[in-house]
């Protein structure tokens, strides 16, 4: 550049570039009649083999649907990221949300109405109604497609069990046994026998799981719909007392107490934690991302007390479609969702193809899950892909066996994230302050969250 005029041009081009670069958004019908949809692929940082498997599935789908072009976008749900993408309108056409967020997003009109597409599915009638209801508004319109459902389970490291002289094929079934085992692991191996998530709202989430397992509830919904925050219920107190005993009496929780979902998985995979509660869908993440040896992984049902309402905290994710999508995109999105997540559960050929693709690229087949459709459908789909199952079933069978006949309880519905955040503090206090006053801590939670609920 030699002339002054050129630098003016440069500035102008630079500024114009802003418009060009961000003005071009994908989707909508392309000129050649194909529709491009952006869909979430895998968590960033996932190993290459998993991406290869994903690409293989995209190729299969595009072959079957030549008029649809699928573009994978790496995606990891996190609260700040999701809020930004939602507000900025940068979410892909097909993305996933936790069940707990659905009601608010539907009420705010931020999700595409997929009623026509979902109802047109041949297996629409077999959806598990308690899961599907999360994706519906008051009039029964459907805004999301159940993708997976999980129940809270007790994860344990079989290698640490062996090292501590415990039988990995006889995992604990009561909270007292968990405590006993935790003490043995801590004493024998020097690692944390039992731990729980504590950070970024996961502490409150797991405390809620522990509460539900003891028959308590964080929020009571009256018949007229008014919500009362009941963080100070006796089950929660019991759960915190339990942690206090393990931490301060037994000293069986190790020395690190700041864990969120990702970091506790890392620590568990690295053999630093004997047992913790977490979703039954963790196997894939632990072995794929945290490089855990599958042979060390054990999963059993979360212990329940004798309390009348004791149950297993459940959760799940929905596939949802960007509210900006037109009908063409919605139809294409539904086809993709069905192909990637649903057909393998209901169609033998699809199930075999999916399992084969995953197994060929050394990905997990046969991870424990709760039924998105009915139990019979789930069992049937497992039966079809039996030869491809590579998740050691005998190491996770305790989960399914232990959960027979149990109730799955949904997460608290009102201001869930704020509630969990406030409960984080209670959990962290108990684990780091020997003299923590549990009653006062839970009272603070009530006083913090109730006004938010009342303000709605």
């Amino acid at each position: 550049m030699k002339s002054p005029a050129k630098i003016v041009t440069l500035v102008a081009v630079t500024l114009a570039g802003v418009g060009l670069l961000s003005g071009c958004s994908a989707n909508a019908a392309d000129s050649d009649g194909t529709t491009t949809i952006k869909v979430v692929s895998l968590i960033p940082g996932t190993e290459q083999a998993a991406f290869d498997a994903f690409d293989a599935q995209v190729a299969q789908f595009e072959k079957a649907n030549p008029d649809i072009n699928v573009e994978g976008v790496e995606y990891e749900w996190s609260a700040p990221t999701f809020a930004a993408q939602l507000a900025g309108g940068t979410l892909p056409d097909v993305f996933r949300i936790p069940l707990t967020d659905a009601k608010t997003l539907i009420a705010n009109g931020q999700l595409a109405d997929m009623t026509a597409q979902v109802e047109a599915l041949p297996y629409f009638d077999t959806f598990n109604p308690s899961v599907l209801s999360n994706a519906q508004d008051a009039d029964g319109n459907i805004f999301g497609v159940p993708r997976e459902a999980y129940g809270m389970g007790l994860q344990y490291n079989r290698a640490l069990f062996v090292e501590a002289g415990l039988d990995p094929d006889a995992p604990p079934t009561t909270w007292d046994e968990v405590r006993e085992y935790a003490k043995i692991i801590a004493d024998k191996t020097g690692q944390a026998g039992y731990m729980q998530m504590t950070q970024s709202n996961t502490g409150g989430w797991q405390l809620t799981a522990a509460t539900v397992a003891r028959g308590g509830s964080m929020e009571e919904v009256a018949s007229d719909g008014t919500v009362t925050v009941t963080a100070d219920n006796s089950a929660t107190k019991e759960a915190l007392e339990y942690l206090k005993e393990l931490r301060w009496t037994d000293n069986s929780m190790g020395s690190n107490f700041l864990y969120d979902w990702g970091t506790i998985n890392q620590a568990f995979a690295a053999g630093q934690i004997g047992m913790y509660t977490g979703g039954s869908d963790l196997f894939t993440s632990l072995t794929r991302e945290s490089n855990m040896d599958a042979a060390d992984y054990g999963l059993t049902a979360i212990p329940l007390t004798d309390a009348k309402d004791a149950g297993v905290l459940g959760g799940g994710t929905l596939n949802v479609v960007n509210v900006k999508a037109d009908d063409t995109v919605k139809d294409a999105a539904m086809k993709w969702i069905a192909f990637y997540d649903l057909n393998k559960l209901v169609d033998k050929d699809a199930a075999l193809q999916d399992a084969k693709t995953l197994a060929d690229t050394d990905q997990a087949v046969g991870t424990p899950a709760l039924p998105v459709f009915d139990q019979a459908t789930l069992d049937q789909s497992r039966e079809w892909v039996k030869e491809y199952i590579n998740v050691p079933q005998e190491q996770i069978a305790f989960f399914a066996e232990g959960n027979v006949g149990r109730t799955i309880v949904g997460e608290p519905s009102a201001h869930t994230q704020e509630l969990y955040g406030a409960l984080d503090t209670a959990v962290q206090s108990v684990l780091t302050d020997k003299n923590a006053d549990i009653d006062a801590l839970l009272d603070t939670v009530n006083k913090t969250i109730q006004p938010l609920v009342d303000a709605d």
Partner: protein, 300 residues
């Protein structure tokens, strides 16, 4: 504080030549300098050497015996995995992009604005100058949320800059510090040169391009160093606006990686992220240190 003085000051300090001849003082000084050197080496170099070692150590060794030096051999795979499988190469390139773009925008804004406010000086220059100066007293925290909402939906244009580098580049240009620094530099350039060029019929553009810019290499250099270092270090803002890992710079990507890759690879990723700035520092040491001293002088 002039440059010449910095060099002449080697002649003497607090301790006089006479003091140095006293054995007691000399011993004390020598000893305290030795202690200082050891402390600086351990604290300055120690953690980085450890990081370098851990980057090449298998995860379980680092966890079990963090201080042992390669108890079970070297694990080169950590570095390979971090670079290729984890796609650190992409984030590395992004980091360079973020720095380059921020630099370009800052230079364009600071030099044109400095030129207009200092040399062209239209009659509303005073008002603009005050407006720019004013922003210097607004802590960046005030801008965080409204700027974020601005980037989500840029006024008049109505587009979102989220996940584009522009979301980092353009706000970086709004640096009052740069504008004032360049303006003050221009203020001190000899006016006669400009007047002479004017008399010869040079346009404002010609004057800017052929006379002012060539004269302002030193200040452009200073602004460049600040701009690039700031872009390399920034975390909070890019973490809010660059959400897609494929456009994230290293500083934003690393905390997320902590959750999803095993420790050995993760420490290798940390090491890779530090190595370029450290090498740059070792090569351009004098410039860095003078820049840091200057930072203090400018702030003062």
């Amino acid at each position: 504080m002039s440059k010449t003085k910095i060099e002449d000051a080697e002649d003497r300090g607090i301790v006089s030549v006479a003091d140095w001849t006293k054995p007691r003082i000399r011993r004390t000084m020598r000893a305290s300098h030795a202690v200082l050197l050891v402390v600086l080496a351990v604290s300055g170099l120690g953690p980085l050497l450890w990081l370098g070692k851990a980057a090449l150590t298998p995860t379980q060794d680092t966890l079990r015996t963090p201080l042992a030096i390669f108890p079970n051999g070297i694990e080169w795979q950590n570095v390979v995995t971090a670079w290729s499988t984890i796609h650190l190469d992409v984030q590395f390139a992004n980091t360079l992009w973020v720095a380059a773009g921020s630099w370009a925008v800052q230079i364009v804004v600071a030099t044109t604005a400095g030129y207009a406010l200092s040399i062209l000086r239209p009659k509303y220059a005073g008002v603009l100058n005050a407006l720019v100066l004013g922003t210097l007293f607004v802590p960046s925290v005030v801008l965080l949320v409204p700027l974020y909402l601005t980037v989500l939906d840029v006024p008049f244009v109505g587009i979102s800059l989220i996940n584009t580098f522009w979301a980092v580049w353009l706000p970086a240009g709004a640096s009052a510090f740069n504008v004032l620094l360049v303006k003050r530099f221009f203020d001190n350039l000899p006016r006669e040169v400009f007047e002479a060029a004017r008399t010869d019929g040079a346009s404002s553009f010609r004057l800017f391009w052929s006379i002012v810019l060539p004269m302002s290499k030193p200040i452009v250099g200073v602004v460049s160093v600040f701009a690039i270092i700031a872009a390399w270090k920034d975390f909070l803002w890019p973490s809010l606006v660059l959400i897609d890992p494929m456009v994230q710079p290293l500083s934003v990507r690393l905390p997320a990686l902590q959750q999803s890759i095993e420790l050995g690879v993760y420490l290798a990723a940390l090491a890779i992220s530090s190595i370029i700035p450290i090498l740059l520092f070792l090569v351009f040491q004098r410039m860095f240190l003078r820049g840091a001293g200057l930072g203090g002088a400018v702030k003062g």
